[in-house]
């Protein structure tokens, strides 16, 4: 049997199986899009407004983010943790995006209006590729799932933050780009100041 985890026809105990080193097993976009659309439909029948729907998608993403952080840092960065805000943001922008979407994010910006806000943008977010939002859903952005992944990564690395996904219109592009807005909790900035000095 060529299934992972099997050896000589016997299922190996979990602790003996290999952590997948290189992502040889890539999942087809169609399969993911189908699963994602089913997730959204499942939640749609159980929530009463758009905000709640985004919250439920974010919760699913959160658990993914927690595990991604451990796995990616162990696999790709030889367990060197990030202890600065810029470090963890750059990890998100490059490593996490590369692992999830096969390419790095399009931009990482610091918010101009507040010290604690940062934005990661993606011109064509993969999870939204086959989603068109009807007008009565207003400003729903299913990138809330990705916002949840980001929140999971940040929270478990010790940088708690409120993370949301927003659609932003772009010149010369028919579809809006998605901006993930990250607002750090005050303790993160306090610690950053304390360590920086």
């Amino acid at each position: 049997m060529s299934q992972r985890g099997y050896q000589g026809g016997q299922l190996q105990p979990l602790v003996d199986r290999q952590i997948p080193i290189r992502p040889r097993n890539e999942v087809s976009l169609g399969a993911f899009a189908f699963l994602f659309s089913e997730c959204i439909q499942y939640f749609q029948t159980r929530v009463s407004n758009v905000g709640e729907l985004e919250r439920r998608l974010a919760d699913v993403g959160f658990d993914v983010g927690v595990r991604l952080l451990e796995l990616l840092i162990y696999r790709e960065k030889a367990s060197k943790r990030e202890i600065k805000v810029l470090g963890i943001l750059s990890f998100l922008h490059t490593n996490v995006w590369k692992c999830l979407f096969g390419k790095i994010a399009d931009s990482l910006e610091k918010g101009t209006s507040a010290e604690d806000e940062y934005m990661i943008s993606d011109n064509d977010l993969l999870v939204n590729k086959f989603i068109s939002v009807p007008r009565d859903m207003g400003n729903l952005n299913c990138g809330a799932f990705v916002a949840g992944v980001v929140e999971g990564v940040l929270k478990s690395a010790g940088f708690p933050a409120r993370v949301t996904a927003h659609s932003v219109g772009v010149e010369g592009q028919s579809r809006p780009k998605t901006t993930i807005l990250i607002k750090f909790e005050p303790e993160v900035l306090e610690r950053e100041l304390r360590l920086g000095s």
Partner: protein
């Protein structure tokens, strides 16, 4: 003779009524989100205590503050010795998700402890990838238990 002022834990009788050998005190704890999710007393000869030594648990718990401070001073996962209690040392290791591995030991064994923590990290990741695992879920897998004992005999005892 004033020895009551120096409470030496290795001279306390342990649960079975025997005096434990001084060089084989080892308590290992995994702490996720401020609660212990895995505890293990390790002894030479592969024997395992079934009940944890409460003093050891207390010392490890008290060391957590030091671990928290040390975590933010270095990008390394291995934090070396973070606290001392008489002749016992607490060595710590943190994963990227800030789950802490604590080892209470006597004597010095830096390379061995580093190796122990590093190999254990891999097994921990395999356990936490479970979608039903949360930072507060206790690790009850017998396979994981067996791995901890194997690693302990390989690196520590």
């Amino acid at each position: 003779d004033g020895s009551h002022a120096h409470l030496r834990p290795s001279h306390r009788p342990c649960g079975s009524g025997r005096m434990p050998r001084e060089t084989s005190t080892l308590t290992f704890v995994i702490v996720g989100d401020d609660t212990p999710i895995y505890e293990c007393e390790l002894r030479a000869g592969g024997k395992r205590e079934d009940t944890i030594n409460y003093l050891h648990e207390f010392v490890l718990h008290a060391a957590l503050d030091n671990v928290e401070e040390t975590i933010w001073t270095t990008p390394n996962s291995y934090l070396k010795a973070v606290d001392r209690y008489y002749d016992l040392t607490v060595s710590a290791y943190t994963t990227s998700g800030l789950v802490k591995f604590l080892l209470l030991h006597d004597g010095k064994n830096d390379e061995g402890i580093r190796g122990f923590f590093h190999d254990l990290h891999e097994y921990y990741i395999k356990v936490m990838l479970n979608p039903f695992h949360t930072p507060k879920t206790k690790i009850t897998s017998k396979d994981f238990d067996a791995k901890v004992k194997t690693l302990a005999s390989k690196y520590l005892l």
